[in-house]
Subunit: 527 residues, 2 copies
Amino acid sequence: MSDFHVYDTTMRDGAQQEGLNLSVQDKLHIARHLDDLGVGYIEGGWPGSNPKDTEFFALAAKELDLEHATLAAFGATRRPDASAADDGLVAALRESGASVVTLVAKSHDKHVELALRTTLEENLAMVRDTVQHLREEGQRVFVDCEHFFNGYLDNRDYALEVVRTAAEAGAEVVVLCDTNGGMLPHQVGEIVANVMATGARLGIHAHNDTGCAVANSMAAVLAGATHLQGCINGYGERTGNADLVTSVANLELKLGMSVLPEGRLAEATRISHAISEITNYPPSARQPYTGVSSFAHKAGLHASAIRVDPNLYQHIDPALVGNDMRLLVSEMAGRATIELKGKELGYDLTGDPERLARLTDRVKSMEQQGYTFEAADASFELLLAEEMGTRPQYFDIESWRVLAESLPGSLDAISEATVKLRAGGQRLAVIGEGNGPVNALDHALRQAIEQLYPDVARFHLIDFRVRILDQGHGTDAITRVLIETTDGKDSWVTVGVGPNIIEASWQALVDAVTYGLRLHAVTPQTV
Amino acid sequence: MSDFHVYDTTMRDGAQQEGLNLSVQDKLHIARHLDDLGVGYIEGGWPGSNPKDTEFFALAAKELDLEHATLAAFGATRRPDASAADDGLVAALRESGASVVTLVAKSHDKHVELALRTTLEENLAMVRDTVQHLREEGQRVFVDCEHFFNGYLDNRDYALEVVRTAAEAGAEVVVLCDTNGGMLPHQVGEIVANVMATGARLGIHAHNDTGCAVANSMAAVLAGATHLQGCINGYGERTGNADLVTSVANLELKLGMSVLPEGRLAEATRISHAISEITNYPPSARQPYTGVSSFAHKAGLHASAIRVDPNLYQHIDPALVGNDMRLLVSEMAGRATIELKGKELGYDLTGDPERLARLTDRVKSMEQQGYTFEAADASFELLLAEEMGTRPQYFDIESWRVLAESLPGSLDAISEATVKLRAGGQRLAVIGEGNGPVNALDHALRQAIEQLYPDVARFHLIDFRVRILDQGHGTDAITRVLIETTDGKDSWVTVGVGPNIIEASWQALVDAVTYGLRLHAVTPQTV
């Protein structure tokens, strides 16, 4: 692997995307996924600018154990006419615990004058002082030159002076940012080639406003940049930042560079999808390399030629990025994956091709309805157990009902659930209350069986995710619910799907309780 | 306007997108929109290959009255070892009534041998004969060289021979297709420049598999291509084709070319969205130039500078493509943003600093509870109106109730909602049913007020997004619901928040109906 920098800014610039909000826990999860992908640098946020980002760096220092990546803290050069040492935001960078600081600096003269409201000279001093100060304090410093390309076109000498000042003050990399995203690749290539003459190590930060974020990044690298910034799934303000996976895959697979640790690119599809579960932004089916449609062919005419040589019809082997070729007419994928997954869970299906085929058909048809087992191992294992005849039946549901209402004169809605079931030879009818309908159902179900199966008292729901599939059908759409449950030691994820969000949640709740009891090797009481 | 060809293939190659299906009527509507945008050529489909496309050309000849565009029929070169005049599919092209025929020809030697299963010589004869035959019959002919770039890299002489053969036989344009989409712009630029030496007029047809479809198209044009193919909204197989609007906007606004009739580019956003209504693919908020987020700013820090000069923060004036600048009200937002946002919506808050401060506090405290206004302009506008005392009160809710239950012996859960309210001097109590609890509430609310306010019959929910905030609190967490509603012309997004998903949805539904009625200038009937 070369010294090329793959630098992710999903959690800072990506989080500028309209509607994208990340909690501190979301950020910790995302950082682990990015590290798993093998990126070199993860920009965690802007400590000091808001309490959430400050908390993230504090928690990261304690809890994040990164294998490949170095955490970077983002911040700005000191305020005009002040000292770097006394600047509160600069102090937050020093105290963030991050070994790398990425400083944003103005490099477009108009922005210095109109947004920063200071002189061109003072801006250079701000860059110089802040970089020097942080270097003296022992941090590595990267400098993001904001609005660099527009600045270069308006006042080339000044833009270049900012680059030189940053490099001379000790910045390890000077990143040229197309902040407004208006450039085309031929311009970026030419400008980066010219800036290379400063001798500074250069990086590229591109936005997609002309649909060219990835291409602009490629042009910069071809012109000599050795540091590439981007966001997972192309998240970002307006039209988004350069998609990190597409950029990296192009570098490795098209330009023959080695920028991720060996074998990590093959995890890209899984990681891209896992992060989209966290952001709750459905992944685009058409996303280059990682989209579910990206290697899908309406086979028809070409079927025989595809069989002879699939590479005639695909630009790369999709396995290189962890994706699969799909034929839309006759779906062929699945069986091998299910066999592998079964093996992983301790079920050997190799000797029973008939059962494997039946299970594959069932998974496919459920996936068509909207189920996903990738994120719901527990529900998948129960399905497998059912197919093997070993799924325990701890209770037998007769009916359930939820009432949610907002009464005259009351501010809050209340929810009440009734669950009727048979277990241990008894018929039980129990009522549960909660501050939401699913919460009420959860209480009712656990209350009903707690005497028979005391283990359920130790189960707690720790995550509850809802995704509307088939967006564009309003309240009529299909809902997918993922529930994560823990017993304090292990945790497991179950799934439910349906047009009714409560029904979908109920399925996931029943699976969650069943899986937990089975995990604890609890014996079913005769239903 | 130059003689540059803007060539749309939405209805042929775009329709290869997974899940995209167009009826003949859909196609007629799309053709009218494309003509309205001012494209030069519209590829209508492949007559003879399926009854729908044949019918489209028959109806188009009768019903389509195009102002700017010429209709093109797509087809293939004749079968091997046959004559063009006797080929049924070639006959369908002749009889299509289209004055332009676009013929797909193989130009990659391996595809000739493995997919077409004929000799390289016979393939050249197929190109020559078919072009000559159609020219003799009076049609203009464009030739799409399929897999051209891979062919050029594998067997340059043969690929060039196909181009020459097509041009010499009378093809007006030879289109170089990156059918598998694997190229990068520097390669496309270099190869197109080399092919220019054949003297043929060249076109470009790019796919987005490396995220570079638009950039590859730009590279081809800069190298000499004068015919550009693309699809509206980047529709197409796998990762899609080059987005036509982005490509054309780049040519006009970045490269200073004039490729659409005067004034048509300013219709691009409207037309892009209108076509996405027909395809029933929700438009991407992040689509360059036309996306609703494409000129949206999380203002915060920059609000004051944006006030001084918005062009510091946008790569073009959004009005040039019929889009608007939007300021997002986010957690980072302060008073200046809310003032600007108010102005955008027609409320001048400058003269009333006390009200502005009150509104800012209220937005901040609601955002702390989990509301987000950056994606919910309509709820924000209602909040503003409330603060100004101008929010209309169309109805007064007394109570609502939802019952969701799964009965013994029944597979599906059913939902029933009761809404009690006062409006127009009456007390109304109405029941609604639905396949989910929110769907049932939506039906009940609208049914209750439809006689008083018939406009609600035109409102439809087109999107329903649920986000669980505070993940990690299980079913106890806070839920945020965003609902998008349309009246067929405008659309608006409202938000609701609460521990109870149904309560949160209810808030968003009430806002949605109130906003819509206010937008239609409906007068409230005395509550």
